[in-house]
Amino acid sequence: MNFYVLSLVKAAVVTFVMLTTLAYLQWLERKVLAHIQLRLGPSRVGPHGLLQPLADVVKLLTKEDLLPAHVNRFFYLLAPFLSVALAFTSIAVIPFGPEIEIFGVKTYMQLTDLNIGVLFLLAVSSIGVYAVALAGWASNSKYALLGALRASAQMISYELPLALAIASPLLVVNTLSLREIVDAQQGSYFGLLPRWTVLQAPMPQVLAFLIFLVAAFAETNRVPFDLPEAETELVAGFHTEYSSMKFAAFFMAEYAGMVTFCSLATVLFLGGWHPPFPEALGSSLVPSLVFAAGAALALYHGLYPARRRDRRTLPVVALVFAGLAALLAGSPGRILVPLFWFASKTGFLLFLFIWVRGTLPRFRYDQLMRFAWTFLFPLGIANLFATGLMVALWGA
């Protein structure tokens, strides 16, 4: 098929999936946080509040779009646009799965594979600072400016440990292309342990993985590093003056950043779409077993309903799950099983982001900076040197 047509189709699919993920990630976050705090969370719009994201989109679209009188107009309007555009650009190089064949067309489950993929991601994320800084400065308001200054200082500082944490697994896999990075993590040790870079000889990258996660929290301005939007001090931080879709743009960019960083962690450290144990031990059966178990559970609760309407709704859910299990076990499984592993690893990391938000309080600003410069940064350098030594001594 024509290269341009194929790329457009793939871009459309990825954009659609990404937007849906962003909407439901927000639902998931509210739900998980609510359950952590012994509340119910969104439950009015649709069953279990499942239509809440749609209601939110309608609400944000129809709100009045205010343009404050005292702003620097050009940069004020540029900032949210820049923020969303950059957040969606970085997903273009993430590989979701291996080479597949649909309707006779062979293609990779990735928009494009750059041989400088990792550097591209770093470049896009470092440009992302401008969106935040410009938003805060152009708003011409003290809360927004303070939030923007905090955000840019924090993002610059944590980019160093982030880059160091990314560099160490690159030494082990010896490439900058994200697809080749995943390919280098194929196989297993002793027929059991996966060769993911967190476990790969000669130097398991556990430390680099932890540094990467901490820095990712800071780069995406999430709790416990959410000082740029600390509502008790700064109202809402750098996007205080934004309303309607322009506010939603920053919101989307934050969640898209989370998805990108979790996907990148999956690709760099957790073996991308490769299963956690070899196929010889039946790892390709796990996805359909998971869904089959879900179907059985839903069917059981449908037969012995706690509420009256469960008698009708839960069997439907069971049917959907059983269908998914059949799909994963059948011939589409060749495409869906790698996607399942990628999505479940990324999903677990996303859950970790939410979990941490429900658990940890916010840092103080000096603690945040001291942590980056006097602990994470030296640790990253030490890990990089140790990895370099190990690779030089016992590497390929």
């Binding site: 400088i116 591209f120 770093l122 470049a123 470092s126 401008y130 400016l145 840019s152």
Partner: protein, 166 residues
Amino acid sequence: MDAFLFFLFAAIAVVCGINLVVQTHPISSALSLIGVMGALAVLYLLLGAEFIAAVQVVVYAGAIMVLFVFVIMLLNAGAEQPSNKSRLAHALGLPLLAALLGVLSYLIQRALPHSPRVIFGSFTKGTAREVGRSLFTEYLLPFEVISVLVLIAILGAVVLARKEID
């Protein structure tokens, strides 16, 4: 296609460069400079130097210019006022600038030897691997010397910025 992209991004670089000088507000100037860096990165990419292109964006646009913008924001520098003092500069500024550019381009063309035509896509040694290999074999001494130079600059900054302890 390559030639079209080259002229497009060369034009963007020049326009951003002019905008950098024309703008009165420091933030606008700084952002124009980022535009220049980005356009230059695309030109590197077109010439086959993808590693240099990425590093150009990461280091210049992503690190150095962020610091510039950060400082401008912290100082809250306002728009500059034109001084309107010298009428001579007002009248002769543009013609003299054009003359200088003309002389410079003439001299450069005379002084430089004729090089073969640039063909897009013919240079393939711009990958990270090739750049790293030549840095650590052929150009090891200059590389190390520059790293020491940067270290001295950092130490100098620390010494200058440090509080006096008596």
